[in-house]
Each structure stands twice: as structure tokens, then as C-alpha cells.
């Protein structure tokens, strides 16, 4: 008499499935398809112009693309590691404070609320060679009498971008690691002290293994939106000077929207997606492994 029912869990997940399918999966299928065509935004019927792997071949042969790809991996590696280390340091500093910790925690979260575009502008402003805070400060302190071309020199521009990225995202690490530090049981710490550990050894052998899962959560969360760095770069340098800060994402945007070569851009898109997925899967794996070691898994 009753219709055979779908399992409850499936019904509950259905809205999520539908939305993700509509907004992510179907467009991705489309972009996957179009990455095998010579689709140009300006000529809509060119989407039927099947060219096989030619877009991918072109990318693989394009040194500029590989530079951008390498630069992206470089930026992510440096930024994520720096964020992790600085976040760890910051969390340890705050954790040691016995007074006014709540206030410090709030300040610590400050950069998390900033839109990446805003961060981009903020640092474009700060690193401006003429009126920027950085040069003004350095000159007023007499450390230099020249205007350092932060965003105009290739190497310095990369540095500035990493600085902005790290400023924005270190707090994610700091907050999660701080939560981890609160959760470290006191007994083993005291036992280690009595067992003869120096503060460094206590940290290395006891504290660190305990907060590892928290570090990996932070890395996993961060890897979900590493591409936010696009916003920053787009604003600060837009890939310049002379492509010295070109990332896979900025190149992709230019190819797709400025040059209107959608097929080619989608091929790049797929490569960038695999990059992001690689980071995400890698950190989720690590997270699970570290949870297992501490017996915190399901």
C-alpha cells in the first residue's frame, strides 16, 4: 500500500546532492566537454568544434603555463608551510598568556574576516612604492632612502603576495592549533617534565603529536580554498610584472574572459581542479592517520 520508500538518509542528503549537481557537477561536465573543443565565448557554436586533446597538448607545450603552474605550487607550498609555522608560534605565544587571553584570541581572528579582495587592496596600498606604509616606514626610520619597488620587481612582488596571503590565513592555523593546545591533557605533559624533558623535548614528543590532528584540520580547511589566493594576486599584481607572478588561476581568467578562449581555459581549469583536489585529499588522509595514532578516530 505504501510506495517503496527511499532510505531516510538519502532523502536528507537529496537537497545537497541536487544543488551540488546543478551548480558544480553539471557545469564541470560541461567544462570537461568544452575543454575538448575550440569553444570561444564570442562564437557560441564553436562549442561543437571538437578538437580532441589539442587544448591539453597546447597547454603541455606551453612553457608559460608550466611556469604559472610551478609558481602556483611554489606559492602554495611556501604559504601553507609558513602559515602553519607562524600559526603554531602564535598559538603557543597566546597559549602561554595567563591574562587577557580572550582579547588576544579575538584580535588573532581579525584577518579571517577580511575579504581576500580587500586583503589584496590593503597590501597593494601598503606595498605601494610611492605612498605605501612599508616604504614610508622604512624611509622615516632611515633604513633606506629609495622607494623599494615592492610590487614592480618580480621577486619582491612574489614576496609581497606571500606576505599578504600569510597575513590573511595564519589565523586559521593559530585558532585551530590553539584549540588543540587547550585539548592536550595535562598529565602526560607533567609526566614528561618529570621524565627529564626540556621544554623543547616536551613540545616535540608530547605536545606536537597531540596537536597534529588540529594542524591537519587547518591544512584541510585551507586546502579547500587555496584558490582564494587568486583574489589577492588579481588585485595586487594581476600576474604582473611581466608575468612574474602569474598563477594558474590568473592565467585561466585571462584566457577565458579576456581572450575568450573558453575551451582552452577550461582545460586549464581542470588542471587547477586536480591540483586543489590533490592538496585536499592529501591533507584529509594525513588527518585520518594522525587521528588513528591518538585513538580519536570513530
Amino acid at each position: 500500500m505504501r510506495r517503496s520508500k527511499l532510505p531516510e538518509w538519502f532523502v536528507l542528503l537529496l537537497p545537497a546532492f541536487i544543488i551540488l549537481a546543478a551548480v558544480v557537477l553539471i557545469p564541470l561536465v560541461l567544462s570537461f566537454y568544452s575543454s575538448f573543443t575550440a569553444y570561444r565565448l564570442t562564437r557560441p557554436d564553436s562549442i561543437n568544434n571538437w578538437i580532441g586533446f589539442r587544448n591539453y597538448v597546447r597547454l603541455f607545450e606551453d612553457a608559460g603555463f608550466w611556469w604559472a603552474f610551478g609558481r602556483t605550487v611554489f606559492l602554495l607550498t611556501i604559504a601553507l608551510n609558513l602559515e602553519m609555522l607562524l600559526g603554531l608560534g602564535l598559538a603557543l605565544l597566546v597559549n602561554k598568556v595567563t591574562w587577557g587571553q580572550r582579547g588576544l584570541r579575538t584580535i588573532m581572528m581579525f584577518p579571517m574576516m577580511f575579504s581576500p579582495v580587500l586583503v589584496g587592496f590593503q597590501f597593494k596600498f601598503i606595498f605601494n612604492d610611492n605612498i605605501g606604509l612599508m616604504n614610508n616606514a622604512l624611509q622615516s626610520l632611515g633604513l633606506t632612502d629609495q622607494a623599494i619597488p615592492w610590487l614592480v620587481d618580480g621577486g619582491l612582488a612574489m614576496f609581497s603576495i606571500i606576505f599578504a596571503e600569510v597575513w590573511m590565513s595564519t589565523s586559521v592555523f593559530a585558532i585551530l592549533i590553539l584549540a588543540g593546545l587547550f585539548a592536550v591533557p595535562q598529565d602526560p605533559l607533567e609526566a614528561a617534565k618529570v621524565d627529564g624533558c626540556t621544554p623543547w623535548q616536551t613540545f616535540r614528543h608530547i605536545t606536537l603529536p597531540f596537536i597534529m590532528p588540529f594542524i591537519y584540520i587547518a591544512l584541510a580547511i585551507r586546502s579547500l580554498d587555496v584558490a582564494r589566493a587568486y583574489d589577492i594576486v588579481k588585485i595586487m599584481t594581476n600576474g604582473g610584472p611581466a608575468n612574474r607572478t602569474e598563477l594558474i588561476w590568473t592565467q585561466l581568467a585571462r584566457t577565458g574572459y579576456v581572450d575568450a578562449k573558453m575551451g582552452l581555459a577550461n582545460a586549464m581549469g581542470y588542471i587547477s581542479i586536480f591540483l586543489a583536489i590533490f592538496f585536499t585529499v592529501y591533507f584529509f588522509r594525513k588527518l585520518n592517520a594522525s587521528r588513528q595514532i591518538l585513538g580519536m578516530a570513530d
Binding site: 591533557p185 602526560p188 617534565k193 618529570v194 621524565d195 624533558c197 614528543h205
Partner: protein
């Protein structure tokens, strides 16, 4: 040599003083037990000796060296914690060897020390497990093993057995005693279980509210409690205490309900006209015909039994004298019905008299 000396050691948390100027000398190889009710400052004192808490005043020395400012690692001590404090991410073997690994000892030495400790505590089957895969008793043994491996000058134990069930606790008590005989070090041991204290200690230190009330061998504190607190805290069942008054000759005591007993002869005449507390243990009040051979001095007293607790070889009898509950023992027991009136003998030589005001013993 690893003796421990506490000189006027004070601890306060903010404005709250929880340990008030403690003085204590622990000899080399001595087994000292701190007992006292919950919150009296036992753990705090132990942790100050370990260096886990800074002292707020006074001086602590270990083996003639003042250690006030030294971090725990510079004190060459080992500590066994109530919750074991094992490192959950290391195997038993790694837990045991950790302290030597930290000290950068060669692997061969570590292996040997671990094997030794594991043999002493029968941990061999578990060496490659993680703490999460062990029972409570096994974890406790690992915690002790970890302490042994280091060959410390001093062992500190903070209620190491309180998380175990009664049977295991009795068993581990024996293990600890054996351990002390085998490794021959100074041990300071905290517990609030007086049975543990009596069975383990060379010397018992009884604490209350941040003060040391009395210290001495188990027998001393049992037989010569300095005040009513120690008298009731040590020994099971606790000492019976009855309020009364010494008459003007100082040779008789009138208890609260008018019963008269003689003042023990060693005190006779010394305290006349004085409010006192008269104390005796259950072992020293027994029904006539069910007693041990009596000493020279004893008094007889009638009491109605309200409740019995048969323990097998003996029976505990509960009654009331002057509205205060009294526990008595009956050897070679027969069945006693509640409501039955018996004549009891109190061994006066073993009785204690305390000042009712100060609650200190009179002698």
C-alpha cells in the same frame, strides 16, 4: 644519597594559602606516605617536591641541594600519576624507554633497562601495545615501569591505585612494596586511603588543611595519635570518642550519660576537673567472654547492641553510650540479636584521653 628536606614550605594560589609552612625530613631509602582527607594539600606538596608547582615560600632540598628554582628535569625524580599519564601515542616499550631516549642514552642501554623494568613488572606480553589497549592495572604497571627505568633518586606517587578496583589495589600494594625492596630508593607516596598508608609506609605523614598533624611509623600514629583527628583518621573502624569530665580527684571520668569509668592509671591524678574526650578502639572494647587476655586495668560497662556486622572471625557490634555511637569487636563470635544487652570490658591501658578544648592528647 637522596634525602628530601622541606623547610617551612608554603604554597598559595593567589591570596589563598593552601599549604602552611610544612617541615619534613625524608631519609634516604625511606618510604614516606602522605595521608589526609581530600583537599588537604597532599598533591600540592608532592608536586612542589617534583617541581611541577613553584613554591611560594620556604625551601626544598633534595640530597643537600636546594632545588627551589630547578625545573623537574633537573631533580632526577620519577613520578607515577593517578591517571597514569601514559603517552597515548607511544607503545608500552616506547613509553618505558622514553626518559632514556630523551637523555640520549645508547639504544642498547635503553633496551636493557626496558627489559629489566618489564621483567620486574611482568609487562613482557604488552610491550608492543598502545596504552589504549591495556587494562587499568596494566596501565598502572606501565606507569610504574616508566618510573623505574630512570633509576631516579626519588619516586613520587600520587594516589596511584585510586582508579583500581579493590582486589587489584590489594595486589598492586604488594607489588609496590616489593618494588621498594628491590630498587631501594626514597619513595614519597600520596593516598587518602589509610589502609594503603598503614601497609606501605615506613613513616606516615598525616595532613589536614595544609598542616602536618602528625608523623611517625604506622604503629606510632596508630597507638599514639596526638589528637582526635589522627585518632579517627587512622585505624579502621575509627576510634570511639566519648565526651566526659575528669572529676576533682582526676582519677575518675564521668561520661556524658553519667557512666563512670576510671582514669587510666598512667594519667590518674594528673588532670582534675577538666572536660576531656575519652577514646578507645573497637579492639579494646569487647563483650565479656569474647575478649583477648586482658591487661591489668579494665572497666566493665553495659551497652545495648543496636546493629551487628559479622566479618567471619570476628563480629563488629554497634551500640550507643551517651548518645554517641560506639563500635566494639567480638572475638569467637556467637549470634547477637539487636536489642540484646551485653557487658563489655574496656582495656584502660589502651585508652586515650584528649583535651576537649584543643582535642590534643593528654599524657
Amino acid at each position: 644519597m637522596a634525602n628530601v628536606k622541606l623547610k617551612n614550605v608554603v604554597k598559595n594560589y593567589g591570596s589563598l594559602e593552601v599549604v602552611h609552612g610544612i617541615n619534613l625530613d625524608v631519609d634516604h631509602n625511606e618510604f614516606v606516605v602522605f595521608v589526609g582527607p581530600s583537599g588537604c594539600g597532599k598533591s600540592t606538596t608532592l608536586r612542589m617536591i617534583a617541581g611541577l608547582e613553584k613554591i611560594s615560600g620556604g625551601e626544598i632540598s633534595i640530597g643537600d641541594r636546594v632545588v627551589n628554582e630547578l625545573p623537574p628535569r633537573a631533580r632526577n625524580i620519577s613520578m607515577v600519576f593517578q591517571n597514569y599519564a601514559l603517552y597515548p601515542h607511544m607503545t608500552v616499550r616506547e613509553n618505558l624507554g622514553f626518559t632514556l631516549r630523551i637523555a640520549k642514552k645508547p639504544q642498547s642501554e635503553i633496551d636493557q633497562a626496558v627489559a629489566e623494568a618489564s621483567a620486574i613488572l611482568s609487562l613482557d606480553p604488552y610491550l608492543d601495545r598502545r596504552p589504549g589497549e591495556l587494562s587499568g592495572g596494566q596501565r598502572q604497571r606501565v606507569a610504574m615501569g616508566r618510573a623505574i627505568v630512570r633509576h631516579p633518586d626519588i619516586f613520587l606517587f600520587d594516589e596511584p591505585l585510586s582508579n583500581l578496583d579493590a582486589k587489584l589495589r590489594a595486589q598492586m600494594r604488594v607489588e609496590i612494596k616489593k618494588l621498594h625492596q628491590k630498587v631501594q630508593t626514597t619513595i614519597i607516596y600520596v593516598t587518602h586511603d589509610q589502609v594503603e598508608a598503614m601497609t606501605l609506609a615506613d613513616r606516615i605523614v598525616i595532613m589536614r588543611d595544609g598542616y602536618i598533624e602528625q608523623q611517625g611509623t604506622p604503629l606510632e600514629v596508630f597507638e599514639k595519635p596526638v589528637n582526635t583527628f589522627v585518632a579517627t583518621f587512622i585505624g579502621s573502624p575509627p576510634m570511639n570518642l566519648l565526651h566526659g569530665r575528669a572529676d576533682n580527684s582526676g582519677k575518675n571520668i564521668t561520661l556524658d550519660d553519667g557512666v563512670n569509668v576510671a582514669m587510666p592509671s598512667r594519667l590518674a591524678g594528673k588532670y582534675a576537673d577538666k572536660d576531656i574526650i575519652f577514646g578507645f578502639r573497637a579492639d579494646n572494647i569487647m563483650p565479656v567472654g569474647h575478649t583477648l587476655p586482658q591487661g591489668d586495668e579494665s572497666v566493665e560497662i553495659d551497652m545495648t547492641v543496636t546493629l551487628t556486622e559479622p566479618l567471619g572471625a570476628e563480629t563488629l557490634l554497634f551500640g550507643e553510650i551517651g548518645g554517641t555511637q560506639v563500635q566494639a569487636k567480638m572475638l569467637n563470635p556467637r549470634i547477637v540479636k539487636p536489642g540484646e544487652k551485653l557487658t563489655f570490658q574496656i582495656d584502660l591501658e589502651k585508652c586515650h584521653v584528649f583535651d576537649a578544648q584543643s582535642e590534643m592528647v593528654l599524657d
